[in-house]
């Protein structure tokens, strides 16, 4: 019985704690490793908000400037630029990945190495304009991380 009871107790704790802590859940957050003297890198995650909200800013002590960026393909040409906010529709998982939005860490104050954690403060604004800070720690993953095929294991036919 013990192996079953324990996870249940943990689940109950989580369920009780979640609504009180935040209305936005962050999953699979990570930052890409950098090499020495590389000036910038990216952070990625999946955000799900209980209610309509938006991500309006991200802060981190590892970079002088942190921006929310959108990567767009215009035919064969990749363009990238900042957006003022990222909509988080109620209940919808919004991915920040290599194919769309991402957190751009500009002016790195030190090299990001695998095994480290990058503290990130996500500023989330709800529909009423109330702002909430969500503190997370994104583990640093290798430079080679994030090839979509490897991550999801899907095969295009």
């Amino acid at each position: 019985m013990l192996p079953i009871r324990k996870p249940l107790a943990v689940l109950a704790l989580c369920a009780a704690a979640l609504p009180a802590l935040a209305q936005t859940t962050v999953e699979n957050a990570w930052a890409r490793a950098s090499v020495a003297n590389q000036h910038s890198s990216g952070a990625f995650m999946t955000l799900t908000s209980d209610t309509d909200a938006k991500l309006v800013a991200v802060q981190s002590p590892v970079a002088k400037d942190v921006q929310i960026h959108e990567m767009k393909m215009n035919g064969d040409v990749m363009t990238m630029g900042p957006v003022s906010s990222l909509d988080l529709p109620a209940g919808k998982a919004v991915s920040l990945d290599a194919n769309g939005y991402h957190v751009m860490l500009m002016g790195l104050v030190h090299q990001l190495k695998q095994g480290q954690e990058v503290p990130l403060t996500l500023v989330i604004e709800d529909a009423k304009g109330n702002k909430e800070n969500l503190e997370i720690k994104a583990p640093v993953r290798s430079l080679t991380e994030g090839e979509p095929e490897m991550k999801h294991g899907h095969v295009h036919q």
Partner: protein
């Protein structure tokens, strides 16, 4: 007996291995790429000369005897450049033993900020066999032009980012361009087309 029939008989007698050796890369059969763009009728990237971190100069001819896959980017690119490099790592694995024939070449479009050492460290972090090339801004501009690669600096606060074309260009072992691989293709799709190209190399 006419000449054609004689020739056919001789070819049949050589068998498959002999035929491959005989034709080699000399013929230009129509390659049936399933995913990539057939660029066999284009002449691109014939005269670039760029340097690696040691100051050694590379031209297309430096890669004769292998199958070079050339693409462009910059190290401060958080999304498409690392995923294209990571895809190249994956492609090599998927190609198995033939993967050693593929030579991955990354050319920076941001020579002002990508110092040779940062560029080298970045590219080798993916795979130490990859080649990272740079040059003066003028050399990079000329190289991008001869590949038909578009790039431009986009201001970003007091810094800038670079918009750029994302195609990977693949040449055969004698430096003839054959294949353009779009950023949207998976490693498996790329590997399949590269193995098709290897049939003539």
């Amino acid at each position: 007996m006419n000449d054609l029939l004689t020739r056919r008989k001789v070819l049949a007698g050589l068998g498959l291995a002999g035929l491959a050796a005989l034709t080699g890369c000399d013929t230009s059969p129509k390659l049936d790429f399933k995913y990539g763009k057939d660029l066999s009728n284009k002449i691109l990237g014939r005269s670039f000369k760029l340097q690696d971190v040691h100051g050694d100069t590379y031209a297309l001819s430096s890669f004769y005897g292998s199958m070079p896959m050339v693409f462009f980017g910059f190290t401060q690119c958080p999304a498409i450049c690392p995923t294209t490099l990571a895809r190249a790592v994956q492609i090599k694995k998927l190609m198995g033993r033939d993967g050693d024939f593929l030579k991955v070449v990354f050319i920076t479009l941001d020579p002002e900020r990508d110092t040779p050492q940062v560029l080298e460290d970045y590219v080798k972090a993916f795979d130490p066999t990859f080649t990272a090339l740079s040059g003066t801004p003028e050399q990079i501009a000329a190289t991008a032009k001869e590949f038909g690669v578009f790039y431009e600096k986009v201001p970003l606060g007091d810094s800038y980012t670079v918009s750029h074309s994302s195609t990977s260009f693949v040449f055969d072992s004698r430096g003839r361009l054959h294949l353009g691989l779009s950023h949207s293709l998976t490693a498996k799709e790329c590997a399949e087309d590269l193995l098709t190209l290897m049939e003539i190399c």
